[in-house]
Every structure is written in structure tokens, then in C-alpha cells.
């Protein structure tokens, strides 16, 4: 089978977000980059499915030239090949434009994927819709928020979605689009040989045109701070009585 997983390069934000001067992006001068957590599980699942059932896995991203780093990271996990839709990185692509570019790239693949995996939502923009748009454009079924994937036979896949109080089960024919959530699996750490192999794996690039956005970001702002007054209860074990006083006030002790 062929599995394709879509990922997005996002900054590794720490405790405090700082914006660029034009207020249209996060200042990344002191930050590293990663893929969204849900997507890392998607890539791990793609590798496991191919280990189990045979075939080929592909990672796809739409992003600036630097996003090659994330494609190589995913190939270090065991993904076989990569497709990079290269953007100039200066302007965001809205969900509709992103979905259109991904669909064109998928349709150009020599071997059409049986399973197309996405993260349930990206860590940064969180628009919750690219995968669903891709599915409609390709005429494929789509299930979201999946935390369990079982290939039933060559024709269908069983998908489990966490809901309050349990799991909802869907069985859909392949090819299908699936969005996954972190917790689906525990992604492996890439090995050193894996990293070396990733450097030589095939990576194909194209440069799609960016249409005018219909959801147009104007600027980013930081939400107002909590405005909380922090009461320091003490240092080390000596703070315990003061902590218990607070717990008593809250009716817990």
C-alpha cells in the first residue's frame, strides 16, 4: 500500500511568544522548528503501516525552502520519500489555497496513495479544514481526530475516534483521508543511521502559485496577560506549611 502524510513546519515555541516587528509572524530568531505534534504521530503511523503491510510512504509539505529540514526529519523516522511544495515563506497560504496545492501534487503522484494522513489541526494556525477540503476535491471519504488505525483488508480501514466516554468506530473504503491526533502512537526517536539514510532519500520539489487568500491574515496580537499577582509561598521543603495553609483555605485539607 501507499501512505502519504502531510506535515507543516512550525516553530518550537517556548514559554513566551515574541512577534516580529511587522506583527505578522512569531519571531523565530531564538527558536528551533518542528512539525505539529499530531503530524509527527501521522508520520510514525505511516512508517508502521508500511513496515506491517509493505509498500511505500511519502511525506508532503507546503512551506519555505527551510521546510526541507522537517521532510528530512520525517525521512529519518523511516518515511521513504518526500514532496516539497516550495513557497517563498513571506506570505501565509490560507486553507483553501493550501488544499488546492496539495490536491494538485497528489494527483501528479505516479502511484496514488491508499491512505492520506494529516494532523487533526496544525499547531500554529489551527484551521481544522485542509484535510476535509482535500478529501472533497479528491472525492474521497474523510474521518478526523483518529487515535486508532487498523487496515482490515486491502479495501477498507477501521478508524477509532476518541469521544467523551468512549471511542466511535468508522470503517471506510480506501483510498481515504484520515486526520490523526497525538496519542495515536508514541513516535520513535530517529536513529543516527536513520538520519544518514534520510539525507540520500528522494525529495521532489515544485513551486505552486499562491492565489489571493480568502481568509486573509491581517496581523497577530498577543492576548492580554493573566494580570495575576503571584504569591510566593517559600523556597524548598520549608514552604510546605504555607502550601497546606493555602490548601486549607481552598477546603482541601
Amino acid at each position: 500500500m501507499n501512505v502519504l502524510v502531510c506535515v507543516k513546519r512550525v516553530p518550537l515555541t517556548g514559554g513566551k511568544i515574541v512577534l516580529t516587528d511587522d506583527e505578522r509572524a512569531i519571531s523565530t530568531r531564538h527558536l528551533g522548528f518542528t512539525v505539529s505534534p499530531h503530524e509527527e504521530c501521522g508520520a510514525e503511523e505511516a512508517v508502521r503501516l508500511i513496515e506491517q503491510h509493505g509498500g511505500s510512504s511519502t511525506v508532503l509539505t507546503l512551506g519555505p525552502p527551510e521546510a526541507e529540514e522537517q521532510l528530512r526529519d520525517m525521512m529519518a523516522l523511516g518515511i521513504d520519500r518526500a514532496v516539497h511544495l516550495v513557497t517563498d515563506g513571506s506570505n501565509e497560504w490560507d486553507p483553501q489555497a493550501t488544499a488546492t496545492a496539495i490536491v494538485e501534487a497528489i494527483e501528479a503522484q505516479p502511484d496514488p496513495p491508499d491512505l492520506i494522513l494529516f494532523g487533526n489541526e496544525s499547531a500554529d494556525a489551527g484551521n481544522y479544514q485542509v484535510a476535509i477540503r482535500v478529501a472533497h476535491k479528491l472525492g474521497l471519504p474523510v474521518v478526523t481526530g483518529v487515535k486508532g488505525i487498523t487496515i482490515e483488508n486491502d479495501l477498507s480501514v477501521r478508524l477509532e475516534q476518541e469521544v467523551p466516554g468512549g471511542r466511535d468506530v468508522y470503517v471506510v473504503p480506501m483510498p481515504a483521508v484520515v486526520t490523526v491526533k497525538e496519542g495515536l502512537n508514541l513516535p520513535r526517536y530517529p536513529s543516527v543511521p536513520g538520519r544518514l539514510r534520510a539525507k540520500r532519500k528522494p525529495l521532489e520539489t515544485s513551486t505552486p502559485d499562491r492565489p489571493q487568500p480568502k481568509l486573509e491574515m491581517v496581523k497577530l496580537t498577543l492576548p492580554p496577560g493573566s494580570g495575576k499577582q503571584t504569591e510566593v509561598l517559600g523556597n524548598g521543603a520549608e514552604a510546605a506549611p504555607a502550601v497546606v495553609d493555602v490548601l486549607s483555605e481552598l477546603g482541601l485539607v
Binding site: 515555541t13 517556548g14 514559554g15 511568544i17 512569531i26 505534534p37 490560507d94 489541526e121 499547531a123 500554529d124 489551527g126 484551521n127 481544522y128 479544514q129 477540503r133 478529501a135 472533497h136 476535491k137 471519504p141 474523510v142 474521518v143 481526530g145 469521544v163 467523551p164 466516554g165 471511542r167 466511535d168 468506530v169 468508522y170 471506510v172 497525538e182 496519542g183 508514541l186 480568502k214 481568509l215 486573509e216 491574515m217 491581517v218 496581523k219 497577530l220 496580537t221 498577543l222 492576548p223 495575576k228 503571584t230 504569591e231 509561598l233 517559600g234 523556597n235 524548598g236 514552604a239 510546605a240 502550601v243 497546606v244 493555602v246 490548601l247 486549607s248 481552598l250 482541601l252 485539607v253
Partner: protein, 287 residues
């Protein structure tokens, strides 16, 4: 007219979506999809898309729940319209302007939406809910859906569930190992609390993902949250910003979690947490 999709998995979030709609226009109609044959995301989306074509609303809203976002995205894909997820405010106009959350609420985006009707989901807890639910008109789901829930597997959870717990005690990277959680579990048991953790902990495999508090884990809103050895990355804070009181225990007095804390203890959790547990036992014994 503003159409509100009555996704009822969380009644308060549905009533918040109604309040958001009333902020845009007086004429608000709530529509639910009858999915008694089993929930179908594309079936709900198709039913809603048909209503949109028939009634020509100015905007279609849904609560920013998993299913609210999912169904509205199907509508957006079917009608090839732009959609903005998790909005905190919006103003009708040409184009419509809106503010929405990014990074699980750690950042806000101001945006313009070019398309009509506007498709928006409402970020949880961005507006105060209306007191009374509206009358909900029920329409049938589309019958030609491709995807439908075939089975519900109930899960039995032992003890206090993380999402509903009144008190949560969490450990972060500072706990150091899976075994290190013994002190966290001990304090949680004394307080009748649920145990949580940060993403660093689940990524290291020390705790299952079901224990993760964060943007990609469980979102909690306890009356007290005790965060031990957690630095306070945006990923984590997105999961615990609903806590009414936050107590942070961390050896680094520069840790960003202290900026959001009501109570701070500067110190190593492996010394502080057992001392708190001992003090609780002493106090209770004396009482």
C-alpha cells in the same frame, strides 16, 4: 439571518455560539441535524450546505468543538467557501473582519474573510453563553453520506477523569522518570486529585498520552491546578488556562509558568512535594 449549527456535545459551548450570533445580528436561527442513524460528518455537512443554499444566511456559526469544526469544514469544502475556526469576535461587513485564536489560545489573529455566507466556529469560552438555549429546528441528515459511525466502544475509566477533575496535580520534565511520579501520585491521592503531565513526559514515554494536559492533550478547568517541575511552554498552558487557581513548583524562579501562577514555590519538586504530603498528613492527624 444568522444560522447556528446546534452541535450539542457541550451545551454551554452551543449557548456561547448563540450569544456570539446575537452579537452579529438579532435574527438568529438554530438548526440541528437528526443523526439518529449514527453520526455522519459529511451527512451533517451536506444537510447544512443545502439549508445554506435555500435560506441564504449572512453567516453560519458552529461551536468550536471537534464536531462543530468538522461539520462546518465539510460545509466549507462543499460550497468552496472560506471558513475561520475558533473566532473570539467578528464584525459583519465587506469583508467580514474577525479575531481568532492560534496556538491553542496563546496567540490571536486578526483576519478578513472574503466570501458569503461567512462560515465561523466560535472559540470555547470567548463569549458569555446565553442563559436559555434557543428553539432548535431539527432537519434530517443527508442520506447519501459516505462516512458514518458504525459502533461506539465505551471506555471505563478508573478514578477521577482528568477532564472533569476538581483538582489536578501534574508533573513535567522535572520529575525525571516514570518512577519519579510516585510523589506526584501520593499528593494527588491525598487531595482526591487526578494526575496529569506535560508533553515532555508523554513524549519520553513516562506516562500515557491520556494523562497529557496541553494543546494536543486534555484541556482541563479544575478549581486548583498544581504544576510540579513544569516550565510553562505555550503547548502546556493552552491545556490548563481554564484552571481557576494555579500553584507552580519549580526550581527555576525565571520559569515562565510563574507568570501565570497564583501561588509559587521555588524548589525541587522531589523535596517540596513529599514535604507537602507529610504536612497534609500531620495537619489531618492533628485535626
Amino acid at each position: 439571518m444568522i444560522l447556528v449549527f446546534a452541535e450539542r456535545s457541550d451545551d454551554e459551548l452551543f449557548r456561547q455560539a448563540l450569544a456570539f450570533a446575537h452579537g452579529l445580528r438579532d435574527d438568529v436561527r438554530a438548526v440541528g441535524i437528526d443523526d439518529s442513524g449514527g453520526y455522519s460528518p459529511d451527512g451533517c455537512g451536506a444537510a447544512l450546505a443545502r439549508l445554506v443554499s435555500e435560506r441564504e444566511p449572512r453567516a453560519v456559526l458552529a461551536p468550536g468543538t471537534d464536531r462543530g469544526n468538522e461539520v462546518l469544514a465539510h460545509v466549507a469544502a462543499m460550497l468552496d467557501l472560506p471558513m475561520a475556526a475558533n473566532c473570539t469576535s467578528a464584525t459583519l461587513g465587506e469583508p467580514l473582519t474577525l479575531t481568532r485564536v492560534r496556538w491553542g489560545g496563546s496567540l490571536l489573529e486578526e483576519a478578513r474573510l472574503h466570501g458569503s455566507p461567512a462560515l465561523l466556529t466560535v472559540a470555547p469560552h470567548a463569549v458569555t453563553a446565553v442563559d436559555e438555549s434557543a428553539d432548535v429546528e431539527l432537519v434530517p441528515a443527508a442520506t447519501d453520506a459516505r462516512v458514518r459511525v458504525s459502533e461506539r466502544v465505551e471506555t471505563v475509566t478508573a478514578g477521577v477523569s482528568l477532564a472533569d477533575a476538581d483538582v489536578v496535580v501534574s508533573g513535567g520534565r522535572g520529575v525525571g522518570s516514570a518512577e519519579g511520579f510516585a510523589v506526584i501520585e501520593e499528593l494527588a491521592e491525598l487531595l482526591g486529585a487526578a494526575v496529569g503531565c506535560s508533553r515532555a513526559v508523554t513524549s519520553a514515554g513516562w506516562r500515557p498520552h491520556t494523562d497529557q494536559v496541553g494543546q494536543t492533550g486534555t484541556k482541563i478547568s479544575p478549581s486548583l491546578y498544581i504544576a510540579c517541575g513544569i516550565s510553562g511552554a505555550t503547548q502546556h498552558m493552552a491545556g490548563c488556562k481554564g484552571a481557576k487557581k494555579l500553584m507552580a513548583i519549580n526550581p527555576d524562579n525565571e520559569a515562565s509558568i510563574f507568570a501565570s501562577a497564583d501561588y509559587a514555590v521555588i524548589g525541587d519538586l522531589h523535596e517540596v512535594v513529599p514535604a507537602i504530603s507529610a504536612e497534609i498528613r500531620k495537619t489531618r492527624g492533628a485535626g
